[in-house]
Symmetry: C2
Subunit: 231 residues, 2 copies
């Protein structure tokens, strides 16, 4: 491959669009992350390295973040099916209901990997798990966790027990398998519609705070679910 020296190069434009839109193509930054993505079976479209096959000027034009390890890869977006995630009844699946902060989505993807969830289902209103900030917050876990979008109605119709986090919920152990554990929007929590079809679960805590951050709630309940599963 010839060295790219122009900002108007078609591949440069395509990578910038993938960073901005992250639809069918996803950008991964850093040599280890790119190697990990290939190792996990992600399909590489192109890999660019600053001063090797792309000029420093054009590379710096592409990336938002100053990266001390100037490698990036353009990949096909991995497609997981919600039905496949839901079919794994030996563990739980995670559903996110309008979780808007990409840092929270990425952190929960990392927790899903840490605590062996079947995958993450993104309901409408969620930040995309494949955006740059969510990918950074997942610290590599985006590569190993199946992620799929679905609608609220599809989840209700899926015929899997639903457990939704809610302040008024019971403080029982979370489910260890054969269930979907639903975390809600940063302000509004899980939607009324989903709460009508789910049992409600809360984290036991003192009265000194009104609520926890959704990523903290997910950390606590996914760790407990994993603990119950391994008993």
């Amino acid at each position: 491959m010839k060295t790219i020296t122009s900002r108007h190069n078609a591949l440069v434009k395509r990578i910038r669009e993938a960073i901005r839109e992250h639809k069918d193509e996803i950008v991964i930054e850093g040599p280890k992350a790119v190697a990990d993505a290939v190792a996990h079976g992600w399909k590489a479209i192109a890999v660019l390295e600053r001063d090797v096959n792309v000029s420093a000027d054009v590379f710096d034009h592409i990336t938002e973040t100053k990266n001390p390890q100037p490698v990036l890869g353009l990949f096909e977006r991995p497609l997981a099916r919600a039905a496949d995630i839901l079919a794994n009844r030996d563990t739980i699946a995670v559903a996110l209901d309008a979780v808007q902060d990409p840092g929270n989505v990425g952190t929960i993807v990392r927790l899903a990997a840490a605590f062996d969830a079947a995958g993450v289902l993104l309901l409408p209103g969620c930040a995309d798990a494949f955006g740059p900030k969510a990918i950074r917050s997942s610290v590599g876990a985006i590569l190993s966790v199946p992620i799929a979008r679905m609608t609220t109605q599809e989840l209700i119709d899926a015929n899997v027990p639903l457990v939704a986090t809610a302040m008024h919920g019971a403080t029982d152990d979370p489910p260890s398998h054969n269930a979907v554990l639903i975390f809600g929007n940063e302000g509004a929590g899980v939607s009324e519609e989903l709460l009508r079809h789910a049992s409600a679960l809360a984290v036991p805590m003192s009265g000194k705070v009104e609520s926890l951050n959704v990523a903290s709630t997910a950390a606590i309940l996914l760790a407990r679910s994993y603990g119950v599963r391994r008993r």
Copy 2:
């Protein structure tokens, strides 16, 4: 109080310095947060309300964030003593060892409130819990949690059992009382010096990730400590 209309007003300069430096004086934003701070016994130096006792132009000059509820209060920084936090042996204390991200510090302050820790001890290298981002991440918990700085040596000399999070640690229950639970730097973890004086504790998890975010680890272990304490 006369309406302030000049950016060169002495109080305006003092508030801007408190936002930037947060040393002896702390700024709290929003009417509910200001009222809560007064209710928690924080000493107010001044309260400013946009278009009431300060012109819109000067108010907008003071605050970094666009606030839909344009009230801010300048307060004396609350002083807690590390010795008082450590004297409460019916629960645990939290120590942060060079936790650099103010969002992580604020989130852990919120968790300390949620799970009834005696207070938060900031060891050298930590972001200040009273900075604007940490205060926002604490979502009000900064008001109810005693926070004090101390050195690593002072903590080692305090003669309280130390438990440090570390990847090689045991996966036992965390301590419920009479202990300091130490969380470490985002990259390096807890310092070697502290690890030599502490027992090591890890969160049980799958091999799919190398580590968790420090705030996730704190959420899981503080919730479990609270659960053990209430058995």
